[in-house]
């Protein structure tokens, strides 16, 4: 007890707490390591452990698979389009909510959060039944509409957090110095918002690239990469190819996540949390 007092302000953790922490970190990360290991296995009929041998040939096989390429292309296109839409809608909503107090302001926040607060299956089936009622056939754009709907919130959260910390006097100074509204936006507001929007956009991309629950309802016969993976999960046909694609997806999603982390380091990354 006394020795703890003499130590610096930060107390030392008990052994039990350290073990619990290590266990939790391992639990979160070891399963990913197995995916990477399995991408090199020579066994293609089962998930036998340990792998009987290691090979690189599945990477070549996966590279030559046109269905994987098609799914990947569609996923990237959808994610990019949905991200752009989410950036526009999310920034607008954030700007409105943070610049004024108005009737129904709380309702706007709620509205933005609703698509991720409700279970994905509800969002999916609601959009599907709406498309059905309006006689809209499934297309690229039906997927995008679904994705943009729940991506808005990540951009919104990041932008609102940043705007809240940006002092309003900065804008007044800009106006006082003779800049008009557009110039103030271009030279004062946007530079301040840039990294928050970068982070929000990156996370929106990651969210859309990975989304499967809403997509199954709005895609019709189209196959995005997650839908391709899901069909392999339910009925495994080419286990080694799936393993390679899984490794690829890990690599692709880590890039935007790390970028978002870097862009908002020491500030509001947590506020993007909550898929």
């Amino acid at each position: 007890m006394r020795s703890r007092r003499q130590a610096s302000a930060r107390p030392r953790a008990s052994l039990l707490l350290k073990l619990g922490t290590i266990f939790c970190v391992l639990f979160l990360h070891v399963p990913m390591a197995f995916i990477i290991l399995y991408a090199f296995t020579t066994e293609d009929k089962s998930y036998v452990f340990p792998p009987p041998g290691l090979t690189l040939k599945w990477f070549a096989v996966a590279w030559g698979r046109q269905d994987v390429w098609d799914a990947l292309t569609l996923s990237v296109q959808v994610a990019l389009t949905a991200t752009v839409m989410a950036l526009i809608l999310g920034t607008l909503a954030a700007a409105a909510v943070s610049r004024a107090r108005f009737f129904g302001r709380e309702a706007v926040s709620l509205l933005v959060i609703l698509p991720i607060a409700l279970p994905g299956v509800v969002t999916g089936i609601a959009l599907r039944s709406a498309f059905g009622l309006a006689d809209i056939p499934f297309s690229f754009w039906t997927i995008v509409v679904g994705h943009a709907t729940f991506c808005v919130v990540v951009v919104y959260n990041n932008a609102v957090a940043r705007l809240r910390r940006t002092s309003g006097s900065l804008i007044e100074v800009s106006m006082d110095l003779g800049a008009n509204g557009f110039q103030t936006f271009r030279y004062v507001v946007l530079p301040n918002l840039a990294t928050a929007l970068l982070a929000g956009g990156m996370l929106a991309f990651a969210l859309s690239f990975d989304e499967v629950i809403v997509t199954t309802f709005t895609a019709g016969q189209q196959t995005t990469l997650p839908i391709w993976m899901l069909s392999e999960l339910v009925r495994p046909r080419q286990r080694p190819v799936t393993n390679v694609v899984a490794v690829f997806v890990i690599a692709v999603t880590f890039i935007p996540i790390l970028t978002a982390y870097w862009a908002t380091r020491s500030s509001a990354f947590a506020e993007g949390g909550g898929k």
Partner: protein
């Protein structure tokens, strides 16, 4: 924190002379006198999208639940009726709801127990560097691919997979067999048992529990724990009487995520686990193969109602201050 940055002022065009800037000036001046209109313009696109398209779809869904399938033709009859709702309250459906809620509750408790040490260590013991790393260690799985992480567990839980191998090489196969022989939660292999499904749910939603607990613990001032120690409490007592109660709203906040996410998921029960249905699967099957959109719509209100009740309780427990 990056300080407020302002682009170099010399790039600003001079106010006079430039025609484009003149128009910009006039437009912005016009809006400056009419902030209401400007606000409306800002709000219009997001409101149109979320308010009309999204909430409209939700209402369309709700409306659907008041139609019913014609038992003879199997087509949806578009007249208002409560028949579908009557169909929802049958014993079989009640089973599905209970099964899902039980699983969601187990996952929530499990995530709180496993996640608490990490959150506690992060908030109160880790130095800034370690803390940053741990933060990233929680964030990466939270945002990375849901399906890939589920797939990892398919590999791990498979009969010929890692867990069986470890059990065989540590002489614990009897324990695994005993677990799988348990009446309800067992099964022929981990990948088709409730134990396996529980592990997968726990793994996938755990980061959502850790972050709110960490945030709540972060707000406990060091002076409070010091005071507790000064008043003679041993560390264990301080933990039980001071830290735990103050962390509780964080646990409740985290439980909102783990509970709601488990409640609505239909992919994990389909990939890992027995053939008995969960709420999400029931919704999916009714709208898909069964073609009974009204019943699917009615079913999809179940998780919403449960979550609304849950949120009301959570609000009472102060969870929203910890978000």
């Amino acid at each position: 924190m990056t300080g407020p940055s302002v682009s170099s002022p010399e790039t600003l065009p001079t106010p006079s002379g430039d025609a484009a800037a003149g128009i910009g000036r006039r437009i912005s001046r016009w809006f400056y006198g009419r902030p209401g209109i400007f606000l409306l313009l800002l709000l219009l696109p997001p409101l149109l999208w979320l308010g009309i398209v999204y909430v409209g779809s939700l209402f369309a869904l709700l409306l659907n639940s008041f139609f019913a399938i014609d038992p003879f033709t199997g087509m949806v009859k578009y007249e208002l009726t409560l028949a579908t709702w009557k169909q929802l309250f049958t014993l079989a459906n009640f089973d599905i709801i209970m099964r899902t809620v039980t699983m969601a509750a187990c996952v929530t408790v499990g995530a709180a127990i496993i996640g608490f040490p990490l959150a506690h260590y992060m908030a109160r013991y880790a130095g800034p560097r370690i803390k940053g790393l741990l933060y990233l260690a929680v964030m990466l799985p939270l945002w990375s691919s849901y399906l890939v992480r589920l797939y990892a567990w398919k590999l791990i839980l498979a009969k010929e997979g890692i867990i069986s191998w470890i059990a065989a090489h540590t002489g614990l196969s009897w324990l695994l067999d005993a677990l799988l022989a348990l009446p309800v939660i067992g099964g022929p292999s981990l990948s088709v048992s409730y134990i396996g499904m529980f592990l997968v749910f726990l793994y996938i939603w755990l980061p959502f529990m850790i972050l709110p607990i960490e945030a709540a613990l972060e707000r406990v001032p060091r002076t409070v724990t010091d005071a507790s120690a000064d008043l003679g409490a041993r560390p264990g007592m301080t933990f039980r009487k001071v830290i735990l109660p103050l962390a509780f709203p964080g646990v409740v906040a985290g439980s909102i995520f783990t509970f709601s996410l488990t409640l609505g998921d239909y992919i994990i029960p389909g990939v890992v686990g027995s053939s008995r249905l969960f709420i999400g699967q029931a919704v999916y099957l009714h709208q898909g193969t069964a073609g009974n959109l009204p019943l699917a719509a009615a079913f999809s209100t179940v998780p919403i109602v449960i979550m609304a009740a849950y949120l009301m309780i959570a609000k009472r427990l102060g969870a929203f201050n910890a978000l």
